[in-house]
Symmetry: C2
Subunit: 209 residues, 2 copies
């Protein structure tokens, strides 16, 4: 057994993205986060900012919003009649993530990649979570303050991700059973989370130092 | 930070109990599994077999079953009118688990101990899960075959634990956020799970070898 692909799903503010980036760097794997958005943008013609919002937080739109989304001038969704914008972006994202995993060793952040790659036997699925105080502190230091209180931002983001994940995977977001490894970064520490993931991968790959 | 107490919750057949026992042995911590049942039996007067079933798998009984449970000759529940048997056993278990954690370094298996000890800062909460084929194989090798198919036994046990946990904790059983560490023993292996838990505890306790 060896792990060529690592998916890192995470709660907002848990440090999951930082952990994923460091794991990729130390293993010499490709790191895919924002690059997935850019690739979807190229493939679909939608603006990256729009995709950023829709690809992790949306759920299928109502019929009416589909009608508006597919109105003239709204890009390539016209080419796929019957699909909502969110569903259309999902299929694009699904294909891109499958292709990236096929291409070479990589770490993929979020975007239901644990679910999309669930049938691969060379993929380690990780979930990073943390207590709310830790997350609130990180949100402000990483993304800056906003009019909205950090706890409110956490609640809204958790809810969006939960609804999005449930809609496209029919699973409960954050259930241990969706992942091979779930870690509380607020208790264990960001560095220890990185070390544990690296330890598992290097042991499986026979590249222990 | 140091970890004096480790709770290990687990899916039936995941090897969680084996992992807990080995962790306790290697750390020189007390191991509490069956001992909790015996202690509840001494404190309440109920038979250990009855407690075994009720303390992890029951939920609060209906009014009618309470009436029968509290009929003369049914033990000490008579001394606590208004409580169902399940609720009465829960309070006994709650107190015993709190006391055991207070007493000294220990590993506690299941029984909602992650929830009961959630306010302690010296407790590491672990959840062990595994894929169903792995669990089915272990159930037969550990507990022997029965008329009921292993997959059926797994489903029934998962459902019982889920309902019991939800009833007494108002949480979803198996959610990553309930634990500091959740591990898939079928992918990582029993020994690796033991090593990872030991690694975290020894690092926190400053007893790394």
């Amino acid at each position: 057994m060896s792990f060529k692909v690592i998916t890192i799903s995470r709660e907002f503010g848990s440090g999951g993205r930082t952990i994923a980036k460091e794991v990729a760097k130390r293993l010499g794997y490709e790191f895919y986060d924002r690059a997935i958005v850019d690739k979807i943008a190229v493939d679909t013609g939608f603006a990256p900012e729009y995709i950023e919002e829709e690809s992790e937080y949306s759920r299928s739109k109502s019929f009416l919003s589909y009608v508006f989304a597919s109105a003239p001038g709204h890009g390539t969704v016209m080419g796929a009649p019957g699909l909502s914008t969110a569903d259309y972006l999902w299929t694009a994202q699904y294909k891109i993530i499958k292709d990236l995993a096929e291409k070479g060793s990589c770490v993929i952040v979020g975007r239901c990649s644990d679910y999309i790659l669930r049938d691969r036997t060379d993929t380690l699925n990780v979930f990073i979570h943390a207590n709310k105080d830790f997350r609130a502190g990180r949100i402000v230091s990483s993304y800056g303050a906003s009019d909205k209180k950090p706890m409110k931002r956490i609640e809204e983001m958790d809810n969006k991700r939960k609804v999005h994940y449930k809609h496209f995977t029919d699973r409960v977001w954050g259930m241990s059973q969706n992942y091979h490894l779930s870690l509380d970064s607020s208790l264990l520490g960001i560095d220890a989370c990185v070390d544990m993931i690296i330890g598992i991968v290097e042991k499986a790959n026979g590249t222990e130092k």
